[in-house]
Amino acid sequence: MTEAEKRPESQDRRPRPRKKQRAWQQHRQRLRESRIAASRRAKSALGESLAPVSKRWVGFKHWYEENGKWTKPLASLLLIGFALLLPYTGDIFDVPLWVELATSGSTLARVMLFSLFALGLNVVVGFAGLLDLGYVAFWAIGAYTAGILTGAQDYAQALTSGAENPVEPEWQMWMWLLFLVALGVAVLAGIVLGSPTLRLRGDYLAIVTLGFGEIVRITANNLDSFTGGPRGIRGIPHPAIKVGGIDIEWGTLIDIKYYWLLLAFVVLWIIAINMLDKSRIGRAWVAIREDEVAAAAMGVPVLRMKLTAFVIGACTAGVGGVVYAEQITFINPPTFSLIQSILILSAVVIGGMGSIAGSLLGAALIVVLPEIFRPLEDYRFFLFGLALVVVMIFRPQGLLPSKRRQAELMSGAEVTAMEDVEPKEGTATA
């Protein structure tokens, strides 16, 4: 907003000579016109100079869409291949920041972890339009399931009670089933929370889910004997595969193998979510998101569809939580505070709600941005907050909005009561 637009609002209560007012308005009009003209000139100049490139790009896009049958799978395969080899690109591109980020196992794994969470939350928020502020609860549930079932909790308990030579839990092959167990537990938790509350409209749901997140965290903090209380659980074993001749062990936090493990989950989830989005369920979600009453009238089972979305989001976080617990080996309640839910939600919104590519980009940004700001130490969350506001102001629809969503924004279907009452200049006072 320019200075010119701001000023008169604060003053227009005062009686001012008509003439002056008119002159002022003309001045503003001229300013606005010159600004628009300048931006138009800049755009056309840029467009001309880029004409050969953009022409070819349009041609390529056309060709790509036309041969979608084999180009699209090929492109996905190429992307997956690139993602697989990402840890090695540090050797090729010798750019300082790139080397640091792309070769750091913990950063890469964190990006993938948050990508998984963002994908799950995207189903809830982006597809079904349910505002969930307690997403971290399911992450916590997954992590604690792993912590308790691997025996790490018993080990920690034995340590504190001073037992002699407690046995640190070791990874067994059956522990791979933990992913399924955690998925099941998270689904159960999702149903328990979802079925009474999903009747609530948008913002009520937000506070209830927020409350649920806090309830899970505080419960984990208070139930000492069950969850280890504020001390948390330590000594959760790293995963390993030991069958016959195969012997793969995941090492400490920075082991790059966690990245690949999480990448496998992310790819799996992208495929599944893509299929869901294109199925009847996906269309039902869109209908609910756009107009719940109309959807119900057309025979969409609103509550069941909402619950489906909620549960899919929950089980994603549950699985992510297991990997998290196994990678970090230590979990305690403060890890699962509200700020994590908010971070994941901002990944979804920054990336573009309802867009899978957007979720991945958003997750990468919310992990990498604070890392980039790390040399600035004390300033990093300050700058991160600023970045959130700035991104939202300049790209309210997100960085990579889904085509459907964008079309809605353009046609104004998304407009709600508060947005379409843009007051015109010179409206009388209240």
Binding site: M1, I218, T219, P396, A417, E419
Partner: protein, 331 residues
């Protein structure tokens, strides 16, 4: 069963004391909740940065009491009244100013672009982080755009000098009622009363009610929506500012960059409990939430208060999906 009977009897023992605690805390929640509810009424927006508006007030109180009035020991008589009034004005003005700035810088640009509603939420969260860490940085050792930030805050909590000595005014059923609690409840009642009159009987109040009923129609009737929104944020900020001062006085809380978080969440819960967008609902919700938390203390212990509060919220919303008093700002 044993547990339940034990619980009931322990609540019975401390009933008056906990009612007293609940009313004090509840009236503070109610004042913060008004900020959420007013903004929600006109914008349908959860103003997540409102807890930071509250937080700023604690630093305003620290500045006013510690630096401006130079309070070193509890005051009495006229001096006390003047200092309290002065601090109240400063806190309210600072918080109101921050709330208005927030609207200008974080929300209005989005409104101009017709952004989807979730973008506001993220913008609010960003602004909240920005404000929190701005106060962390203000420890006199950090620079912002080559300007040294003043040393008025910092990462550690800073105790606010006690301006009012705690005195027991009278004893009701064995529990002491102190002057601080009386002050808090009186100020809260006064502010809530003024606000209620303001919204129901003044020119601006009518504007606020009109916008929250139907923004489009209000604009057509000649209501300047931008101004109504600014006034709403200002009023909400003023209430949060006063609440910040009361919070410090009655709980002896320090000025701290993270202090807004818990009261903010609780107040938001209170606003939803009463029916978000509904002013009297926010007052009722605040009081009920304060009482529920207080009554849960003798029975379950302090570590479960938040859980109880949220469970009560869920149960209430299950039976009354739009809160106790329903949604709208009082017509």
């Amino acid at each position: 069963m044993d547990l339940i009977t034990e619980c009931v009897s322990s609540v019975g023992d401390q009933f008056v004391a906990q009612t007293r605690n609940g009313l004090t805390l509840g009236s503070i929640y109610a004042m913060i909740a008004l900020g959420y509810t007013l903004v929600y009424g006109v914008l349908q927006l959860i103003n997540f940065a409102h807890s930071e508006v509250f937080m700023v007030s604690t630093f305003a109180a620290l500045y006013a009491l510690g630096t401006l009035f130079g309070v070193t020991q509890p005051q009495a008589g006229l001096a006390l009244i003047l200092i309290l009034l002065g601090t109240l004005v400063i806190c309210a003005a600072t918080s109101g100013g921050v709330a208005v700035l927030l609207e200008r810088l974080a929300y209005r640009p989005l409104r101009r672009r017709g952004a989807p509603r979730l973008s506001y939420l993220i913008s609010a969260i960003g602004a909240s982080l920005f404000l929190q860490y701005l106060f962390v940085l203000m420890d006199g050792q950090h620079y912002l755009l080559f300007v040294k930030l003043p040393a008025i805050a910092g990462a550690a909590p800073r105790p606010v000098p006690e301006v009012m000595a705690t005195q027991t005014l009278f004893t009701a059923f064995g529990s002491a009622i102190t002057n601080k609690r009386i002050l808090v409840v009186l100020v809260a009642i006064a502010m809530l009363f003024i606000l209620d009159r303001f919204v129901n009987q003044t020119h601006f109040g009518r504007g606020i009610r009109a916008v929250s009923q139907d923004a489009e129609a209000a604009a057509m009737m000649g209501v300047d929506i931008d101004r109504v929104i600014v006034v709403t944020f200002l009023v909400g900020g003023v209430m949060a500012g006063a609440a910040g001062l009361l919070y410090i006085i009655v709980l002896g809380a320090p000025a701290f960059w993270f202090i807004g978080f818990i009261p903010g969440i609780k107040a938001f819960t209170a606003a939803v409990l009463g029916g978000i967008g509904n002013i009297r609902g926010a007052m009722l919700g605040g009081l009920i939430l304060g009482l529920v938390e207080a009554y849960s203390v003798p029975c379950l212990g302090t570590q479960w208060t938040s859980v109880t509060a949220f469970i009560v919220l869920v149960v209430v919303l299950m039976f009354r999906p739009t809160g106790l008093l329903g949604e709208r700002v009082s017509r």
